[in-house]
Each structure stands twice: as C-alpha cells, then as structure tokens.
C-alpha cells in the first residue's frame, strides 16, 4: 500500500518534470549572457585556457572556499562521529582490521603509488590549461594513499601532517583572496593581482594556478583523512559503553 502511494507520487513528479523539460530541447543554446561573458573574459582578461577552472576559482571563488570548508567539516565530523575511547580496547593504537594483503598486491601498490601521486600533482598543476584541477588531482592523490592503506596494515598516516597541510593550503587560499582586496585593480576579494601572462603558458592566470594547487593539497589531505578514519574503524559488534 505504501509502495503504491509512493509510486503514484513519483509518477506525478515525473509527469511534471517531463512536461517542463519538453520545452527545453537538448543541444539548444538557451542561456544567453553569463556564458558569453565568461567565455569572453576568461581567455582575454584572465588568460586562463580552461573556462571551467576560471569559473570555479575566480568568478565563483567564494563558492569554492565554502566547498573546501564543507569538505573540512565533513572530515572533522567523521572523526568525531566515529571516535572511540581506547580504554577497553586490547591494543594501544587503533589497528586496521583487514587481513594483510598478498605479496602481489603489496608489490603492485608500491610500484603504482609514486606514479599515482605524480598524476595527481600533474593534474592540479595544469588545472588552468587542461581538464582537471585541484579537486580531481586531490582525489587522485587520495586514491594513491588508499591503495597503500588497503595493502599495508602498518601504513599509518600522520594526522598532524595532514592538519598542517590543510591549514597551510587553506590559509594560502584565504590570504591570496585578501591580498586581492588591497592590490588588485577593483579591490575585490579573490581578484587577480599578479601579472596574467600569456594564454596557454604554465605560468599564466596569476593567482588562479596557485589557488588551484592549494586546493589540490587541501582536498588530497582531507579525503585521505576521511579514508584513514573510516578504515581504522573497529570490528563490528555492540559497544558496551554506548548503551
């Protein structure tokens, strides 16, 4: 009975969605104005080849600052939700419960790990020239650490180092934004105040490239922290202290 009501409800939603989008043909040039402004401004004024990067970091840079903050909050919240007192545990440090991986997996992980880090770094350094950027590069770096975490039981990540990386990268973002208030032409937050350079050069785009590198470090550290917290969760079963 409940299912029938819900399916009917979803049917009503589907009908209105379809009828609304019937007037939006696929592939039509619908939204004038803001798109043309970005497509004109990004290569000519900011000298950033990848328009998506220039929107994410510059035109909507404040949004990205909020996004990075949300990821930081998620990683902190995860730590506090899964926190456990260690008194009744047998071991001293939290141990990962997964069994040791086979030698093949361990050797493979050891070989692939540096190349994964290199790919991630390449992607966020070239964020303003090619597809990709800080978020993608950071996620790829976290994938590399994940590979090491699942293959080696003894591979521990220093949470202090992660905290420091996050703090330095985050304050780089905010300080570069604040410097824009002082030195840039129009005195706006996150406005470019460095020389823009030439289109399709590595050192083009002023602060955009620097900020995306900082975002890459920050996202990589945050996601690595999330994965490490989740992987060190203790075994299943009822917790006597929580009832």
């Amino acid at each position: 009975m409940k299912k029938v009501i819900i399916i009917g409800f979803l049917g009503v939603i589907a009908y209105y969605l379809l009828s609304a989008f019937a007037s939006v043909p696929f592939g039509a040039d619908l939204i004038k104005g803001v798109k043309d402004f970005y497509l004109d401004k990004s290569p000519n004024d900011l000298k950033v080849a990848n328009v998506v990067t220039s929107i994410v970091v510059n035109f909507r840079g404040f949004d990205t600052l909020g996004e990075v903050t949300v990821l930081f909050l998620a990683s902190t919240a995860l730590g506090s939700i899964l926190y456990r007192r260690r008194s009744h545990d047998s071991g001293l440090n939290p141990q990962r419960t997964a069994p040791e991986a086979s030698a093949l997996v361990q050797t493979g992980a050891k070989v692939i790990f540096p190349f994964t880090i290199m790919l991630g770094a390449y992607i966020f350094i070239h964020g303003h020239l090619t597809p990709g950027g800080g978020f993608q590069g950071g996620a790829i770096i976290a994938t590399g650490f994940l590979l090491m975490l699942v293959s080696y039981r003894k591979f521990f990540i220093e949470h202090n180092a992660l905290t420091w990386i996050e703090a330095i990268a985050g304050s780089t973002f905010v300080i570069l934004g604040l410097l824009g208030l002082v030195y840039a032409n129009n005195h706006n937050f996150l406005e470019n105040f460095l020389p823009a350079g030439k289109l399709n050069d590595l050192l083009s785009g002023g602060i955009i490239g620097i900020i995306y590198v900082a975002v890459g470090f920050k996202v990589g550290a945050e996601i690595t922290g999330i994965l490490d917290t989740l992987l060190t969760v203790k075994e299943t079963g009822l917790d006597p202290e929580e009832n």
Binding site: I6, I7, F26, D29, K35, S42, L71, I81, L238
Partner: protein
C-alpha cells in the same frame, strides 16, 4: 534523432532521480537509503550537464588548436556547478555512512524499523 536524444537523456536523468528517491523512501536498510541518495545525485548531475550541452559545441577549453577560430563552446556554468556538487556529494555520503556505522554499533542492526527509540 535530436528528438530521440532529448527524451533519452532527460528521461534517463529523471529515471535515475526518481529511482533514487524511491529507494530513499521505500527501503528499510540504511545503507540502501544512502545508495539511493547517491543514485539521485548521479541523475541530477546528468540532467545539469545535459542542459548545458550545445549541439556541435566543443569543451570550454581554449587550447592552442581552438584559439582564434570561431568555434561554438558548450555552457561552462553547469559544468562548474556539477563539479562542486560531486565533491560535496562525496562529503555528504561519507558523513551519512559514518552515521550508519555509529547506529549499527549502538543498535546492532541497519534496519530502520528495528531502531525503536528514533520515534518521538
């Protein structure tokens, strides 16, 4: 063909969204509910990118092969929004799953019907 792709892509996006909503409303298992929310997210991202697509457009990147030529580019704004949404979605999923693990530790079940003291 254009007509067909319109209904195909939008229809798939709506289907995924409604399927995710269905799972979140009907299913009793907490992990299944989070899976439903993740499927809903996927459909939403597909819808956004499809709305921003322009026929015969290229990716919005001024690579050396494109500079100076008169090319049509797809709308970069929905792509930037979806980029944000995917990363935020990951954070949301991670926190939701951490809550699932925490509830399992306390009640030893992932079925929402058996977790009695959530009622009020």
């Amino acid at each position: 063909m254009q007509e067909f792709l319109t209904y195909g892509i939008y229809g798939t996006a709506f289907f995924l969204m409604l399927l995710g909503l269905y799972a979140a409303l009907v299913k009793k298992n907490l992990v299944k509910i989070v899976i439903g929310l993740s499927v809903l997210d996927s459909g939403l991202h597909l819808l956004f990118v499809a709305v921003g697509y322009i026929s015969n457009g290229t990716a919005p990147i001024f690579s050396p092969a494109v500079v100076g030529k008169n090319v049509v580019m797809v709308d970069p704004v929905p792509q930037a929004l979806v980029l944000t949404a995917i990363v935020i979605g990951f954070g949301v999923t991670a926190v939701a799953l951490a809550l699932v693990v925490r509830l399992y530790r306390k009640h030893n079940t992932t079925n929402i019907d058996e977790i009695k003291n959530l009622k009020w």
